[in-house]
C-alpha cells in the first residue's frame, strides 16, 4: 500500500472511503443480490461490477478534472467535449448516415477512429487552456463557452440525429471484456497508473499543486504556471474525449444531445467528494472513490427501484450525507480526539520523494 499511495494521501481518502463503505454496507443488508458475483461467458458479472463499468467514463473525466481543479481552475466543457469526440468517431465510421444512406462505405482503421477524436478533444482542451492561462479569462467563463457551443458543434456533426453504427473492434472499447474485466475499467486503471506516475514520480504533481495554491510564489520559484495550466486543460480535454469514446462505443451510437450530459457536474462532485482542494493538493485515489460513490448511489437507486420522481431528492440526501461524513469539521465535532492527531499539513514537500 505504501508504495502506490502515500500515508498522507491515504489519510485524506479515509473520509470518502468510509462513505463508500457505508453505502456498500447499506446494500449488503438491504438490497438483496447486490453483491452476487457470477462469471458469465468468462467475465465478471454483477451489480458491483456495474458500478465500476458504468462509472468508468465519469472516473476518467474526473481524473482530468482533478488536475484542472488542483491548479485552481475548473472545466465545465468536459460533457460537451465527450459529445464532440463521440460524434467525430461515429461520423468517421458512418459519414453518410445523416444523408439517409444506410450502407457504410469503407470502414476507417480502428486507430484512426480512436486517435482523431482524441486529437480533436485535445485541441478543444488546448483552446480552454489558452483562454485560461494566456488570456487570463476566468476558468468558469472560459470553459462555459465550450460547454454551450460544444454541444452545438456535436449536433452539427451528427445533424441532430443519433448516428448508430456497428464496428465490433470499436465497440470493444465500451462493452468489451479483457481478462474478465470490462475494458472501460481497464482504461481507468491505465489512466490512473499513468497520471499517478506523471504526477507522483515526477515533479509535475508538485508543480500543479504549487501553481494552484500560490501562483506568485510558484512564479518566483521559476515554475511556468502558464504551461502547467495549459497542460492540465489539455489533458482534461483528452480524458473527456476518451470518456466520450467509451460512452459512444457502449451504446453503438453518437447521441449528441445526451452523450456526456451533466458529466461536468458528476466529475466536479467526484473531485470534491474525493478531498481535492481547489487550487492545491489533489488526490487521484480520492477522486476515483468520489466517482465510485456517485455511481454506487445511482446503481443502488436503480437496483432498489426508487420511484423515478424521487431519484433526485434521494441522490441529494445521500450526497449530503456523504459530504457530511467526510467533512473534517463535521468529523471533528463528532470524534474530535481521533482526528486531531492526524491533521499534519507540513508534508507537501516530502510527497514527491516517497
Amino acid at each position: 500500500m505504501r508504495k502506490i499511495i502515500s500515508n498522507e494521501e491515504f489519510k485524506r481518502v479515509l473520509g470518502p472511503l468510509a462513505a463508500f463503505l457505508l453505502i456498500m454496507m447499506f446494500n449488503m443488508f438491504f438490497t438483496p443480490g447486490f453483491f452476487n458475483m457470477q462469471i458469465k461467458n468468462g467475465h465478471l458479472f454483477g451489480s458491483f461490477v456495474d458500478i465500476f463499468n458504468r462509472g468508468a467514463p465519469v472516473m476518467i473525466v474526473a481524473i482530468g478534472m482533478t488536475l484542472v481543479y488542483a491548479t485552481g481552475g475548473i472545466d465545465l466543457s468536459v460533457g460537451s467535449i465527450m459529445a464532440i469526440s463521440g460524434a467525430v468517431a461515429a461520423y468517421m465510421i458512418r459519414p453518410d448516415y445523416t444523408k439517409g444512406v444506410i450502407e457504410y462505405g469503407t470502414l476507417p482503421p480502428l486507430f484512426a477512429v480512436i486517435l482523431i477524436p482524441l486529437l480533436v478533444a485535445g485541441l478543444l482542451g488546448l483552446w480552454n487552456g489558452i483562454l485560461v492561462a494566456y488570456l487570463k479569462i476566468q476558468p468558469i467563463i472560459a470553459t462555459l463557452i465550450l460547454m454551450v457551443a460544444g454541444r452545438g458543434i456535436a449536433q452539427l456533426i451528427t445533424q441532430g440525429q443519433i448516428i448508430t453504427f456497428e464496428y465490433p473492434e470499436f465497440q470493444f472499447l465500451g462493452s468489451g471484456f479483457l481478462l474478465g474485466l470490462p475494458v472501460s475499467v481497464i482504461l481507468v486503471i491505465v489512466m490512473l497508473v499513468l497520471v499517478n506516475f506523471l504526477t507522483r514520480k515526477t515533479a509535475l504533481g508538485i508543480f500543479i499543486e504549487s501553481v494552484g495554491s500560490n501562483p506568485t510564489a510558484s512564479f518566483y520559484l521559476g515554475i511556468n504556471s502558464r504551461v502547467i495550466k495549459l497542460f492540465s486543460y489539455l489533458f482534461c480535454g483528452i480524458c473527456a474525449g476518451l470518456a466520450g469514446l467509451i460512452v459512444t462505443a457502449d451504446i453503438k451510437g453518437a447521441d449528441a444531445n445526451n452523450c456526456g450530459l451533466w458529466y461536468e457536474l458528476d466529475a466536479i462532485a467526484s473531485v470534491i467528494i474525493g478531498g481535492t482542494v481547489w487550487g492545491g493538493r489533489f488526490t487521484l485515489f480520492g477522486t476515483l472513490l468520489g466517482a465510485i460513490i456517485i455511481q454506487s448511489i445511482t446503481t443502488t437507486i436503480l437496483s432498489r427501484g426508487v420511484a423515478p420522481e424521487q431519484i433526485l431528492v434521494f441522490k441529494a440526501i445521500v450526497v449530503m450525507a456523504v459530504t457530511l461524513v467526510q467533512s473534517s469539521n463535521m468529523r471533528k465535532m463528532i470524534v474530535d480526539s481521533v482526528f486531531v492527531a492526524n491533521r499534519k499539513t507540513d508534508k507537501t514537500v516530502n510527497k514527491g520523494l516517497n
Binding site: 451489480s47 456495474d50 457502449d250 445526451n258 437496483s303 427501484g305 431519484i311
Partner: protein
C-alpha cells in the same frame, strides 16, 4: 411621412383582404385544388423526427399539386411569427404550423383570424384559451399509444411468449421517458389503462431511462440484476431506450424478443432493424408523417366542410413479423 404611408397601405390591405375573404366565403363555388395556396411555418430541423415531418409536408404538397409556401423558423419564435405575418400578407388559403413554444401566439393568431385565414396546428398545441383561433390540432395521442402497447401485449403474449413461461403471472418492467414530459406521463397512463382488468399482468419495476439509449441500457442492467429471470416483458416509452436495453439483455445472457418480450413506442428505423433481427417484438408508431392528414384537412376546409377540433394521427402498430417488409419504407 413614409411611416404614415406604410400604415395607410397596411390598413388598406387588411380591409381589402377582409372584403376579399368575405366574398370568397359568400360565393358557393369552392376553389379548385390546384389554386390552393398553403403556408406552413415549421419549427426547424432539430431532430430526425422533425426532418421526416418536414419531408412529409413538402412531398405530399407536390403529390397533390398544392402550392406550398414553406418556412423554417430555425427554432426561433420570432422567425415563426415573421413567417406567419408574411403568410397573412400573401393571403394564403390555409396556414399550417408547429409552434416552437406553447405561449405567445395570441396576437398573431388573432391577426390570421381577422384576415379570415384558417390555422391548423400540426404536432404541437398552443397555450391559448380561445379555441376559435385555430381550426384543428393534428398530432399523436400519447395515451392512445400507451393503450395500444398494452393492448398488443394482452392479445399477443400467449402467442409470443417462451413456451415454458406461465400465463398466470406476467412480470413487466417499464422504462419511462423523461420524468414529467407529456409523452412519458401519457404513455405511462395509457399502458396502465390497457392492463386494467388483467391482474395477471404485473408491472414489477418502473424507472426512468430519460428517453436515451445509454440510460435505457444502464437501467435495464439494474433491473436484470435485481429481478433477473423473473422479467417476462419490457415496456419502453421509446425505441432508443429499448435498443439500449436490448444490449443489456444480451450481455446478461438472455435473448431479447424471446426470453424477454419487448414492446416499445415510436417506430424509428433502428427499431425496425432490431425487429428484423428478431430482438424487438413490437413498436407502436408515433408518426411524423403528418402530410397526408394535414392536406386532407386543408382540402376539407376549402370544400367548406367542418372538421373536428382534434385529429389524431393515423398510427400503426408494427409487430416483428412485418418489420422486414416495412424497413425500406422507413424514412426516419
Amino acid at each position: 411621412m413614409l411611416k404614415f404611408l406604410e400604415y395607410a397601405l397596411l390598413i388598406a390591405g387588411l380591409l381589402f383582404f377582409q372584403t376579399g375573404c368575405r366574398q370568397s366565403a359568400d360565393s358557393d363555388q369552392p376553389k379548385d385544388i390546384s389554386e390552393i395556396v398553403v403556408g406552413f411555418a415549421q419549427i426547424g430541423a432539430e431532430s430526425a423526427w422533425r426532418t421526416a415531418n418536414t419531408e412529409s409536408i413538402i412531398s405530399e404538397a407536390k403529390k397533390r399539386n398544392i402550392q406550398l409556401k414553406f418556412s423554417d423558423a430555425q427554432q426561433k419564435q420570432e422567425n415563426q411569427i415573421k413567417a406567419f405575418r408574411s403568410f397573412i400578407a400573401q393571403n394564403v388559403d390555409v396556414i399550417g404550423f408547429s409552434p416552437v413554444v406553447e405561449s405567445g401566439w395570441g396576437p398573431v393568431l388573432r391577426e390570421a383570424k381577422e384576415a379570415g385565414i384558417p390555422v391548423i396546428l400540426v404536432d404541437r398545441a398552443v397555450d391559448e384559451t380561445d379555441e376559435s383561433l385555430w381550426v384543428t390540432v393534428i398530432g399523436s395521442d400519447f395515451i392512445l399509444e400507451g393503450e395500444r402497447a398494452g393492448k398488443w401485449l394482452i392479445e399477443n403474449y400467449q402467442r409470443v411468449k417462451r413456451p415454458d413461461k406461465r400465463m398466470n403471472v406476467v412480470n413487466i418492467v417499464e422504462l419511462q421517458g423523461t420524468v414529467g414530459s407529456a409523452p412519458a406521463n401519457d404513455r405511462y397512463r395509457g399502458f396502465r389503462n390497457a392492463l386494467a382488468g388483467h391482474p395477471n399482468f404485473k408491472i414489477i419495476k418502473t424507472q426512468t431511462g430519460e428517453f436515451t439509449r445509454a440510460k435505457g441500457k444502464e437501467v435495464m442492467e439494474a433491473f436484470l440484476k435485481s429481478d433477473g429471470k423473473k422479467i417476462d416483458v419490457l415496456y419502453s416509452h421509446n425505441d432508443d431506450m429499448a435498443l439500449g436495453a436490448i444490449q443489456a439483455i444480451e450481455a446478461y445472457g438472455q435473448r431479447p424478443g424471446k426470453d424477454i418480450i419487448i414492446i416499445s413506442i415510436d417506430a424509428v428505423r433502428g427499431a425496425f432493424e432490431a425487429m428484423a433481427a428478431g430482438k424487438l417484438n413490437v413498436t407502436v408508431e408515433c408518426s411524423p408523417l403528418l402530410g397526408p392528414q394535414f392536406y386532407d384537412a386543408v382540402e376539407a376546409l376549402i370544400r367548406g366542410e367542418t372538421i373536428p377540433k382534434r385529429i389524431v394521427t393515423d398510427e400503426g402498430v408494427f409487430p416483428m413479423e412485418v418489420a422486414e417488409k416495412e424497413l425500406p419504407n422507413r424514412k426516419y
